[in-house]
Amino acid sequence: MTGKQMILLGVVIALVAVGIWQYAGTGQEETTTEEKSKIIDPEENLAAAFSSVHVVGRKEGRKQYDFTFDVVEQVEDKVSFAVFSNLVDGKIYGTDGDLQYRVDAGWGKWYESSENLELQQGVELSTADGQVLTGPAFVWRAAEDTIESKGRVDVQTPSAQVQADHIVVDLATDEAVLTDNIIVSDDLGSILTGSKAVYRSKEEILEVMGPAEIEVIIGGARNETKLAKSSQG
């Protein structure tokens, strides 16, 4: 590769990075280019900018998210999106400005029009109070401030393990709506099964709707259910 070709390639990569900034900024109030330019300086290291794009979004004066990932591909179609990989230690902030979720994902998509962030492959969303959501795929919707699972989800709370086919977490209220094939195992070995429930993480209360079953072991927790609170968070 000649020097000119290398420069040309660098310019292309820089344009891709700038494109990502634009996506991040779309619809997000007070997302300043100045801040982004401090984080990424294409002239400084084009390869690094390409492999570690850092985007910060703000909404109504507060920081809403902070993601770092590698850009793989930018797709311009009816619905434009950017494909990224290696989202490590991303951050989603609550309405009070406090860190609400740390996000890790193997890869994902950033949709321009809907502003949705689709997370896939080994997705893990964890909170400071010891709650961890894992599943094959999630969608974070910035406008609605919700996280929705695509596929069966596993929620590890400080006191229980919760599984369901589907979950929608409202970040504003910190309430999660779980539906279908819900299984809750608490730290005493009890197992609840049901079809619909709302989990309020701040209070660690699960409200179940409709019919349900609970199996309680008399005389102590079952051996196979060991929920180590110390392993959380």
Binding site: L188, G210, P211, V216
Partner: protein, 244 residues
């Protein structure tokens, strides 16, 4: 005459003790099993969107109150039902409210409230307690009613093997009826004690009242503590009838 009374009291006492004994025996058998001892709670609710259960995962406390349905709790061959249940897992205690019923193969119980401590195997029924014991065959099929017990509160401690009934105690068994303020049964000393304005009546008209009636099942002796008042009907075939 005295023999007749002793037979009547003994028959009533034996019947009540049999009822109590069965209450004690069934959960004990559960403990003898090697399988995991567990309680299954089923929540019945037709409205899939109606809130039925609040499960505090931090305290392991469960509040169950279906809006239109009911709750069923089963443990071995014991089945409990009610409209509302509060379950504290750390204490292994369930409190059932409203339209409470309990069933065993030979037993039916209804009450306003029932507190069950599963670890200690203690059942406390409160409010309009009505208990019926059934005769059953070898296949545990019900035959006919053996006796009934009514009281304000009935406590069955299956580990200590004692039963304590308090308030408006009324026992009805075939042709005998006993009223008292309290009834205590202790399987250890094989004694059953009725206290407080005790009245015993038989279908043939014999009546006796006292402050306390102690039935020693080991010796078949029933002792009535006074002041005692008795009214006996003479045997049929004799024209002598009167009071004593």
């Amino acid at each position: 005459m005295r023999q007749s009374w002793r037979r009547a009291l003994k028959a009533s006492a034996v019947a009540v003790v049999m009822m109590v004994g069965l209450s004690v025996a069934v959960p004990s058998a559960v403990y003898g099993q090697e399988q995991v001892d567990k309680v299954l709670i089923r929540i019945y609710e037709q409205d899939a969107n109606a809130k039925t259960t609040s499960f505090n995962l931090a305290t392991n406390e469960i509040h169950i109150e279906p809006q239109t349905g009911y709750v069923e709790i089963t443990r071995a061959d014991t089945k409990l039902e009610s409209k509302q249940v509060d379950y504290a897992q750390k204490d292994q205690r369930a409190v059932l409210y409203r339209e409470v019923t309990a069933q065993q193969p030979d037993l039916d119980l209804a009450a306003d409230k029932l507190t069950v401590t599963f670890d200690d195997d203690i059942y406390v029924a409160e409010g309009n307690v009505h208990l019926i014991q059934w005769n059953i065959d070898e296949a545990s099929q019900r035959l006919d009613q053996k006796l009934s017990l009514d009281a304000d509160t009935v406590t069955m401690d299956n580990k200590a093997e004692v039963v304590h009934a308090v308030g408006n105690v009324y026992v009805e068994e075939s042709d005998r009826r006993i009223w008292a303020e309290t009834m205590d049964y202790n399987q250890g000393d094989d004694m059953m004690v009725f206290t407080g304005s005790v009245r015993v009546e038989t279908a043939d008209g014999n009546k006796i009242t006292g402050n306390q009636v102690v039935v020693d099942l080991a010796t078949d002796e029933a002792t009535v503590f006074g002041p005692v008042e008795a009214e006996f009907i003479l045997e049929s075939g004799s024209e002598d009838e009167g009071e004593e």
